[in-house]
């Protein structure tokens, strides 16, 4: 049976309208105003992604005359323990200052000091690259530009599968998250920018969405790329931040760079050295946690400066959090704890492998932002590689004639969707199921890892993959959409367990700490690369060298 569904055409389709996706859409229209640019956005583009209320810093900017892109590559290489492809990092840093100036031309606020200099903070082992930004409207600025330039945004549409024809990607299937309806985009090129896997481990607060990174990110981009044949890497880099307890909101560098003091539970001070998250994890793991931040020694104007930033930008909800806890920065202290575990290209090193042109290993497929692996690129990485992906996807699209959709692949998806609606009569609500999946991720994938635990993770994920269709209740379209999200979380957990088991060493501090291989081994200074075999659960593992300049 041939179903009736809309097919829209695009030169460049962008899946995910967050930081990277919105920037990619803008750039694609700048490069060629006449081309059709479509964005599939799971939420609503005006605020979607990690920067709903903006961002307090552009994390990586090589300001001419201050520090160089080359120093950034060296510095980030240290932070990545050597597993970082240098050309990608260099290109990002080289374009970072132009990016800042571009954002500034859009009225994005970068505060200047009395001498007219940007406020630059040191958050890397070497060099000062983090520039203070104070722009709650950052995302709305991007969204507005998208619409003004004629980008077609399809909100509430989750990217489900990439469509391939003759080995190249020629479009994608989207599903309306509210109605379950299918929309197909026939596209000459596709950019994946749908974030990492923020809903991975279960946060200590017990609230499924009470996570550090944007919880709409459920590894959709990773899984779509993987199923299309692209290479993934860094799934063993199971990132855990160390930030404000319970709310899991960031504040570390805003406070430390303004003179805050950092103590462990025994009042030992750590603010003299350049303190980082790995050190705090070490203290916590050694049972000398939790760590605490104190600002009560700071002058009032400094405290106000901190408050003004924290309570206006990125996660302004923190203000009511501290009020609720009775914490006043003038007298109280801020307790820090480990966050949940998550997978992310921007904060960590998990992602679709791309080259300096943002190309994946599949023709016509590009990746940017947290979906791609430009190690620890943060917001700068999302913006710069959004632009790079757009430029190269545009060039690729211009070289293609009309592309064709294999409607059989759409029909396969519709059959899958309809079978979930028809068979999902089990007793378990999808939310309860997700809770258990993520609890097992906590038990078996969150470090410290060992072979036994990782094998148990694999056993559980295999079981969850089946249970998703056997015990879960799908009572409406909302549940249907959640089954796809949770299926992606399970797939990411499977890949994370396999990659973690493969890397028989410990690296990146807590993030890949294996109690059965506690030492870092230089033989493992390489990438673990995952590709799909005969089926999604058939994960092929290979190793690839780190690319150096």
């Amino acid at each position: 049976m041939k179903h009736d569904y809309p097919v829209i055409d695009a030169d460049v389709l962008i899946i995910g309208g967050g930081s990277a996706g919105a920037m990619a859409a803008i750039r694609a229209k700048e490069v060629d105003p006449h081309q059709e640019v479509v964005v599939f956005e799971k939420g609503h583009v005006k605020y979607s992604g990690c920067i709903a209320r903006g961002m307090d810093a552009l994390n990586i900017v090589a300001i001419p005359g201050l520090d160089t892109p080359e120093l950034y590559v060296e510095s980030n290489g240290i932070a990545c323990h050597g597993v970082m492809d240098e050309p990608q990092a260099l290109v990002m840093a080289q374009r970072s200052f132009a990016l800042l100036k571009k954002l500034e031309s859009w009225d994005v606020c970068f505060p200047l000091d009395e001498k007219g200099n940007y406020e630059v903070l040191q958050v890397h082992p070497k060099g000062k690259f983090c520039v203070t930004m104070k722009e709650p409207e950052l995302k709305t600025i991007l969204a507005k530009r998208c619409l003004e330039l004629g980008v077609r945004v399809v909100n509430r549409t989750m990217g489900m599968r990439l469509i391939k024809n003759g080995g190249a990607v020629t479009g994608a299937i989207g599903m309306n998250a509210r109605t379950g309806e299918v929309m197909v985009c026939r596209a000459k090129s596709v950019i994946l920018s749908s974030g990492g896997t923020a809903r991975f481990g279960l946060p200590n607060n017990g609230y499924l969405y009470g996570v550090y990174d944007f919880p709409g990110n459920t590894g959709d981009g990773y899984v779509m790329a993987y199923k299309a044949g692209a290479e993934l890497s860094g799934f063993e880099y199971t990132c855990i931040y160390y930030i404000v307890k319970d709310i899991n909101a960031p504040l570390l560098y805003i406070t430390l760079t303004r003179g805050a003091h950092l103590f462990n539970a025994f009042d030992q001070a750590f603010h003299e050295e350049h303190p980082g998250i790995p050190m705090m994890h070490d203290e916590h793991q050694a049972n000398r946690g939790p760590m605490r931040i104190r600002l009560d020694h700071l002058p009032e104007d400094k405290i106000r400066e901190v408050e003004e930033l924290l309570f206006s930008t990125e996660r302004p909800v923190q203000e009511r959090f501290y009020e609720g806890r009775g914490v006043n920065f003038r007298s109280g202290e801020i307790e820090l704890w480990p966050t949940e575990c998550f997978l992310c290209g921007g904060h960590g090193q998990t992602g679709v492998r791309v080259n300096v042109k943002a190309e994946t290993t599949v023709p016509g497929l590009y990746a940017a932002g947290d979906t791609s692996l430009v190690a620890r690129g943060h917001l700068t990485g999302a913006f710069v590689y959004g632009e790079i992906a757009a430029e190269n996807a545009t060039e690729y699209a211009a070289s293609k004639g009309r592309v064709e959709i294999d409607h059989g692949q759409v029909e396969d998806f519709i059959r899958d969707r309809d079978s979930r609606l028809g068979s999902g009569a089990g007793p378990i609500p999808i939310e309860e199921f997700e809770y258990k999946v993520r609890r097992m991720i906590n038990d078996y994938i969150v470090p410290p890892k060992n072979d036994y635990k990782l094998n148990r993770a694999l056993w559980w994920m295999d079981r969850f993959r089946k249970e998703l269709f056997e015990v879960v209740k799908v009572k409406d379209r909302h549940d249907l959409f959640k089954t796809y999200e949770v299926e992606n979380i399970i797939q990411c957990a499977l890949m994370s367990a396999l990659a973690s088991r493969e890397r028989k060493e410990s690296r990146w501090g807590l993030w890949h700490y294996r109690s059965d291989y506690p030492k870092m081994d230089e033989a493992w200074r390489k990438h673990i690369v995952l590709t799909m075999g005969a089926s999604p659960e058939d994960v092929k593992i290979a190793h690839a060298p780190v690319v150096t300049l």
Partner: protein, 535 residues
């Protein structure tokens, strides 16, 4: 509401200030993680156009009339008309009616807003840039008017083709001026002209112009010619002198050519058109008017309030009678013979009246007006291979991709607001068609709403429904509007009766406290608490 999963057992961290919220749904629309849903007030759920009745009623309650009018006008561009002649399904669904028997007078509050001074100089709505495409709309009644409004807003050129010499369809040519003054309809039409719609009047499709010719000149066509024909009893005596039929009778009156009325007038029918005809007959000089209906008083399709006014004006109602024949003498009607109707509907609820042939009544009559319903005239589609009934229920599309249908023409007589909703649906389809987009995608979705929820009844005041004193007909020739608008105090008091049933809420507990819902709320009525687990 029962808990459906472990998350819904958590407390909702979305706090709504009911004294500020206008129930516009902006927060629900913008919620990135799709956590929010709108508990849709029964009045709004019942409105074919989805007008935010709760919102404008609450704004009137708060004394914010200009905002209330703006909220109303977001969806409803013709408040002057609908505040007078809408069937008000909102009131029928009003929870206050269910609890106390007396709905909030939502239509009356709408009338209050429509009469506001600053509404007279209504501003033009925002319109898209010209698309370069043109649409012909055949028929300028409620469906055609709404389609015209929406398509002009989308930037398409619109030509309205109307058989009569003035636009407005039934609003202009059937509804009596004492219910809907001509100047109100004229103002609504004028607003469409100001938006750039052109009206080709006095052009009957099928006679002066064929549909094929119209198709050739335009990129799409909407046929919205309504149900201008009338039903007959098909009984002996129906062709006698002094026997009239509802729609042609009302039309002749609106055209300034009323028939002579005097002596005893019997009107056959129980709908609004029959009541309108009866009240019109009184104003034309009838000595007495008797309205004979098949239905009993409770079953009458006509508005109860209108029936009350008719009775007050002197119309005598005879319920539960079926017509057997119209007796005549010298070619003129002299009486109507009736038999008792026992039941109008059968066990399955279908129209299938049963009678008691032993109970017969003869009503003397100098004039008889048969007002038992309308019928469709599909002659304009002749030769096109299109049947009215084939229109897609959602998109109003036909087998001819350029031709869409709208309003009563599709399925027979409905109500003005249903016809307008149908016109809006057809206009949306035309816009999608002209842009080359899929006609059905997303359109069967009722929206991010909840319909089953507990209603807090503590908010409504204890006042009784306010009924502004209507004007009394002063006799022959008095066609002045009878319904009166509420005073400001009356409107506030009436609005205070509203339970304010609906509200946005955090349904799924998937909040990331990212705050767009709070930022986008136009009334600062929403506050995001940190969920208790994190607090």
């Amino acid at each position: 509401m029962s808990r459906l999963n472990l998350l819904e057992a958590l407390t909702d961290n979305i706090v709504i200030d009911p004294a500020k919220c206008i129930f516009c749904g902006e927060c629900v629309e913008v919620c990135v993680l799709d956590n929010l849903r709108m508990k849709l007030a029964p009045c709004r759920a019942a409105c074919p156009l989805g007008v935010n009745c709760q919102g404008y009623v609450q704004l009137v309650n708060r004394g914010e009339d200009a905002k209330a009018l703006a909220e109303l006008m977001k969806v409803l561009p013709f408040p002057g008309t609908l505040s007078r002649v809408c069937t008000a399904p909102c009131e029928n669904a009003c929870h206050r009616k269910e609890r106390t028997g007396e709905a909030v007078s939502i239509r009356g509050i709408k009338r209050y807003l429509a009469d506001l001074d600053d509404f007279i100089e209504r501003p033009l709505p925002e319109m898209a840039e010209a698309s370069g495409q043109s649409v012909a709309i055949i028929g300028s009644g409620p469906a055609g008017m709404m389609a015209t409004y929406d398509l002009r807003r989308k930037g398409h050129a619109v030509t309205v083709i109307e058989a009569e010499r003035e636009a407005g369809g039934m609003l202009r040519w059937a509804i009596p001026a004492f219910n809907l003054p001509a100047k109100v309809v004229a103002a609504e039409i004028e607003s469409l002209q100001q938006m750039g719609a052109s009206f080709q009047l006095g052009t009957r499709v099928g006679k002066d112009l064929t549909l094929e010719e119209i198709k050739d000149r335009h990129d799409a066509v909407i046929v919205a010619v309504g149900c201008g024909g009338h039903l007959k009893l098909n009984l002996e005596g129906e062709d006698l002198g002094g026997v009239y039929h509802g729609l042609p009778f009302l039309r002749d009156v609106r055209a300034g050519k009323p028939p002579q009325m005097g002596g005893k007038v019997v009107v056959i029918g129980g709908g609004n058109a029959a009541v309108d005809a009866a009240r019109t007959a009184l104003r034309l000089g009838a000595d007495s008017v008797t309205l004979v209906s098949l239905e009993n008083e409770d079953e009458l399709p006509a508005f109860a309030e209108t029936v009350d006014i008719a009775r007050e004006e002197g119309v005598v109602l005879e319920h539960s009678w079926g017509t057997l024949e119209i007796a005549g003498k010298n070619g003129k009607a002299v009486a109507v013979r009736l038999q008792r109707c026992l039941c109008v509907f059968d066990g399955e609820g279908k129209f299938n009246p049963s009678f008691d042939a032993c109970q017969i009544m003869d009503l003397p009559a100098d004039q008889v007006i048969v007002a038992i319903g309308q019928r469709r005239d599909a002659s304009c589609l002749e030769g096109m291979g299109i049947e009215p009934a084939e229109a897609d229920p959602v998109t109003k599309a036909t087998s001819d991709e350029k031709v869409f249908l709208a309003g009563d023409f599709i399925g027979g007589p409905s109500s003005i607001i249903e016809a307008m909703a149908s016109g809006r649906a057809a206009a949306e389809s035309v816009d999608l068609f002209l842009k080359g987009e899929h006609l059905k995608y997303g359109r069967s979705y009722p929206g991010p709403i909840e319909l089953e929820f507990e209603i807090d009844e503590s908010r409504g005041s204890g006042l009784s429904r306010i009924k502004p004193k209507h004007k009394i007909c002063k006799g022959k020739g008095d066609f002045k509007e009878t319904a009166a608008a509420m005073t400001t105090k009356q409107a506030r008091d009436e609005a205070s009766r509203c339970y304010s049933c609906g509200s946005p809420f955090g349904k799924y507990r998937t909040c990331w406290f990212c705050l767009p819902c709070e930022v986008e709320c136009p009334e600062q009525a929403l506050y995001v608490e940190i969920p208790y687990l994190l607090r």
